[in-house]
Symmetry: C2
Subunit: 694 residues, 2 copies
């Protein structure tokens, strides 16, 4: 969000409501309350009373960090708290029937409008309701009906429209569009709530102008293994077998021999949640976990044992570019945060289904199109889990073993974006490490595969079932990391590489190797290099480890990520912004939060994002923000169909010289009288030589 047009002073609300009174008592970093959301939409609607506002998103505008830090520092030192900075909100909306995408900034504390403007050339995000409406309108359109007629579909079947963001290609598109894929349910399955219509992709898509809900074009889909797309006016639907995932639709049923596994905590959970509903304390960790319709979960003011580590940490964007170059598949490149929102599309998690053990749920809060706050029940779940062996050592001279287990505190949010699911996790552990984990599951986006066609030379996807082609694609995620390593006075980014020492008189036997540390001096981007074991660190240059003398820090450990494969000149790459480097480092700015920029629907680049910001190359002055890209290239497998076993990847923030010794040293020893484990079979004896300290 950049600066707004000047405000019309007549729109100042002079009588604060109850909601705004309450707001002033909130913590500066608290998520928006329902009352605050109401205030935002009320102010905007009041200012625009002659029109009907269709709200797309209402978001918290965090107070400037420069105002928040003194507050947090006073919290740390126990000094009197400074006044809470003004609470502000942003509304993104349309006027009914109009094309212009609108932004308003609201002073929630005072209940006043700070500014409002048109966002020229930008388009607003979608949501489930809009998706369903686009689909219904597309299906009803005569030109879509004509295509369905051409196909001579089986009797009684149901056609399912699946609207997507239009994406972008080399052709500019000034109006807000959706591209709609079509799938089919056979007659006998169409009433089943989990029938897998994706198993029957149709051979055309259409393009809808969202403002008018008109179908503006039909695109024929590729159906064979080649590059040419058939336009045969007589192409018919080719029936192919169902491929279901719902347990009651499986021909063989479900396996019967998986025995229940229960997790219980007889003395209750080890975490507490403050009355603010956001501040969590667990095992020396303390932080705010805030729901957000765009980012899903935001961690704010993460501390360990009273020492700050992160000012803010959240997924900034994700993109899923597809490798099938054929129109219209070439436009498949979802940006699920900017286009839909990880909070907006959050599942309502269910006890005992999505989570196992002893669970707490956070509700999320969004905004309806008409501006009412809408609860998203059970959007985030939180639980503890055992994480296996923590640390262990056996003194072989005395036979005594000391062993601890690792414990984790897990925050889970699962999003459904059309066909696909992402489960997103923040995981805190008892060794002062914070992990970010992603699981990718759901149903792959597929196109029709002519059973008579030759796919043997097709290398951009896989025929995963009769009649179904799954293009290869990438899942690339970007985390925005705003560090506060042992203080809010700013952090420096360095990276360490490990190099062999030359074989010479310093290293006569040729075994030596050394760590070389490089400071990131200017805004820039760089890549990881696994051949040098490159590790990114965030350090506080003003605090030193007592023993090593090196600055205290946290390092980022991540799985290997193949960067964006799209051509540098392609729209996938241009608008991606974070896809062609693992790491971007920029100077902190309050309004630079999202790796691919703010408004992604049909974005065409050139409006900011971490690449653009990193390219400024300005000198960093203990004010570094790290943008970290991770993900994977998904070469599709038949094993991923009809629903994909979750693919995991986890990155970790680990202390390095931050502590003077193992932070898990005081985890209590793992003892049977606490753990209450059992032998699996009655004939098992106790061990002959006790090895564990009891």
């Amino acid at each position: 969000m950049s600066h707004l047009s000047s405000i019309n002073p007549s729109n100042t609300f002079t009588t604060p409501s109850r909601a705004t009174t309450k707001a002033s008592t909130l913590h500066p970093l608290a998520a928006l309350t329902p009352d605050e959301l109401t205030t935002i939409s009320r102010v905007v609607k009041s200012y625009n009373a002659s029109k009907t506002c269709l709200f797309r998103r209402c978001l918290l505008v965090e107070p400037p960090k420069a105002l928040v830090v003194p507050y947090l520092q006073a919290e740390l030192s126990g000094a009197p708290l400074p006044p809470v900075p003004t609470r502000r909100g942003q509304a993104l909306f349309y006027f009914e029937g109009e094309q212009d995408f609108m932004e308003a900034l609201v002073d929630i504390t005072r209940g006043t409008l700070l500014g409002q403007r048109i966002l020229p050339g930008e388009h607003g995000p979608g949501d489930d309701d809009e998706v369903l409406e686009i689909g219904a309108k597309a299906l009803a359109s005569p030109i879509v009906q004509a295509e369905l007629e051409r196909l001579q579909l089986p009797q009684g079947c149901e056609v399912i429209p699946e609207p997507w963001p239009y994406g972008s290609d080399d052709t500019p598109t000034p109006t807000r569009l959706s591209q709609v894929w079509f799938f089919l349910n056979y007659a006998e399955r169409k009433d089943h709530p989990s029938s897998n219509f994706y198993a029957h992709p149709l051979d055309f898509s259409c393009v809808v102008d969202i403002a008018t809900m008109e179908v503006v074009r039909i695109d024929r889909m590729p159906t064979d293994g080649g590059i040419e797309v058939s336009t045969d006016p007589n192409a018919r639907f080719r029936p192919n077998p169902d491929c279901e995932y719902a347990p009651e639709l499986l021909a063989e049923g479900v396996r019967k021999d998986l025995k229940p596994l229960h997790i219980s905590q007889p003395e209750g959970v080890s975490f507490t949640i403050a009355d603010d509903g956001e501040t969590v304390k667990w095992q020396k960790w303390e932080f705010r976990v805030c729901f957000d319709v765009r980012e899903g979960m935001i961690l704010r003011n993460v501390k360990y044992d009273g020492r700050p580590i992160f000012y803010r940490l959240a997924l900034s964007e994700m993109t899923v570019p597809y490798g099938d170059p054929r129109a219209p598949v070439h436009r498949k490149s979802a940006f699920d945060l900017g286009e839909c929102g990880a909070g907006q599309t959050a599942n309502n998690l269910q006890l005992g289904c999505d989570c196992l053990g002893v669970i707490h749920y956070f509700d999320g809060m969004g905004t309806s199109a008409d501006g009412r706050p809408v609860k998203i029940p059970h959007a985030i779940c939180i639980h503890e889990q055992d994480a296996g062996l923590g640390w262990k050592h056996t003194n072989i001279r005395t036979g005594r073993a000391d062993v601890t287990r690792a414990r984790e505190l897990v925050f889970q949010l699962i999003v459904t974006v059309g066909n696909y699911e992402y489960a997103l996790y923040f995981v805190f552990d008892t060794a002062a490490t914070l992990h970010y984990e992603i699981r990718a599951t759901g149903i792959m986006s597929v196109t029709p595969a002519d059973p008579s066609a030759d796919f043997s030379e097709t290398a951009f996807g896989t025929v995963v079932a009769d009649g179904v082609f799954a293009p290869h694609h990438q899942h690339l995620f970007n985390l925005r990391i705003d560090p506060a390593i042992d203080g809010y006075d700013g952090s420096v980014v360095t990276y360490d590489d490990v190099y062999p020492m030359k074989r010479d008189e310093r290293n006569p036997h040729g075994v030596g190797f050394e760590v070389k540390s490089t400071k990131v001096e200017n805004e820039s981007a760089f890549n990881l290099d696994w051949t040098t074991n490159r590790v990114v660190k965030m350090v506080n240059p003003n605090k030193r480890n007592k023993f090593s003398g090196k600055p205290v820090g946290f390092k980022i450990m991540a799985p290997p990520t193949q960067l964006g494969l799209a051509d540098p000149t392609s729209m996938h790459n241009i608008r991606g912004e974070f896809v062609n480097n693992h790491v971007h480092v920029t100077k902190y700015a309050d309004n630079e939060l999202w790796g691919s920029g703010e408004h992604l629907w049909q974005s065409r680049g050139g409006r900011g994002g971490c690449r653009t910001w990193a390219e400024r190359g300005r000198k960093l002055e203990n004010d570094s923000v790290v943008w970290f890209t991770l993900g994977f290239t998904h070469a599709t497998r038949s094993e991923d169909w009809p629903v994909m076993p979750s693919e995991h990847f986890r990155m970790s923030f680990k202390p390095v010289g931050f502590f003077e010794q193992n932070p898990a040293l005081d985890v209590p020893p793992s003892k049977q009288h606490v753990n209450q484990s059992r032998y699996a079979f009655p004939d098992q004896e106790a061990p002959i030589k006790p090895c564990c300290h009891l």
Copy 2:
């Protein structure tokens, strides 16, 4: 093991014992029984009746694969089983007081010696008993006592000798040596069974000739941050603070707020173990898990749903080269399988301490120096664990969610090798993926750090505590993978890379990318490349996926591994064999089992290992064996001291086109009536909108 010298026919035992009778009923791939171990040592002792044999290891010599495969194929097809091939064992031993390292091969079935020979230039592995004896002898030696006197140690302290394999450097060493480090316990701590003497490293080491138990040399240790090693004859011990890990020795005690977490399986476990004590069945998996003193755990004949995947899978070797180039640290490069044995050093796991939930334990079986079978109680534990979200999809039109959880079956073996611990895991999951996980924990190997010295420019290690320097090092592991992808008729290795397509008329928008598959035609070595997302696959060229037409296969997914940093001309690299490529592919051979060769104690290379075998370059004919290297470079942190929070890494074998659909499709839905989860806090309501299919 290569060929043996011809046998003296007079050593044939003609009367089979009860043990050998029993042996003939064993499965060809069964681990050695106690009776069989007794037979091996009895045959060897009888042949060498005039001397005292000191056994180092007695190992199963698997029958030739060519004889076993018809047996396994008959098992698969239900045909009559062919005769069980002769059971054979290998004994590695010394004659008391002699230097020659001996090998004997025994026909266990007949109770006969097949051959015996001296292994010239090779040295046998060590064990805990030997380590303790070397230490005691070293400590008693006058020249060690003279060094201790020089140090003017604190009154009443205890000196702890820590023998290591000598390693190798550029100077040949014909006799079997140990290098011994020395540490100190202060008087007030020396009686505590977990006192951390490693916190007080002394400034010298000694070298012991193991055969004579004589100290042959004193080496002074580096104590500052530079390259020169002090030989100051007046150097004194510099007292430094204790740094303990035992809970009762922690000044602040243990944290009190970690609540118990229990895992129970009220209907019992989902796995079964056959009467043979080795064959495990769980969730369509079936395999033998065999204890072995060298390799720890060996998986044999791994099948899923009746289809073979691996003939044999085991850790083949590991090495820990240190990056500190200064003598004598330059010789630190442990080969913990070949030198000590992952089974030999296995912990006796304890219910509720090392394992949580419902556990079964396997005992291991080794051999004492005098040839008796020795039980290693509870060497391997096995349990099920929940692994979070399996797969999920929500139909946003109907609101119905289908969700499963992932379950894992975990085999754990923990080894203690002096100061350090490795926890080794085979993990099977419900999506037909097999994982190999390693956790590194225990106490880092350290050297003394002069508190007055300057370490600010020292880049090959870290001062982790007052007086303690921890050199950087690498942990490199090698898995030997003998695939049997959907049949025992042999497997082919390929690797896939993902490349961008050129922007041209096939790819007009520049978004396309393609997978290129390369077949490994000849014995060779290559590296992974994360920039091309290189994935190694093992495929069966004779079986094709029904939909893709591609060979059925399994792929290897692995974390990034920095390869060996030691100079190519260095002994660390030469004897490492597997350390300078991620992947070696060789033609199957019955006697090629260990990536760095068979006998590692003071090995100097040149006697086989996966690099040597890969360099043969012979044409592969569906007989590929894969040697996979993984590990990490450990740049030491103060957080790893005094005991290291376990560092995890996990590689995975995932089906790719092996199945026609998601193999976890029939995992039963995750349901609360089965899972019995609980709300963490009483005020939590049920969700408003049910999203889970119940």
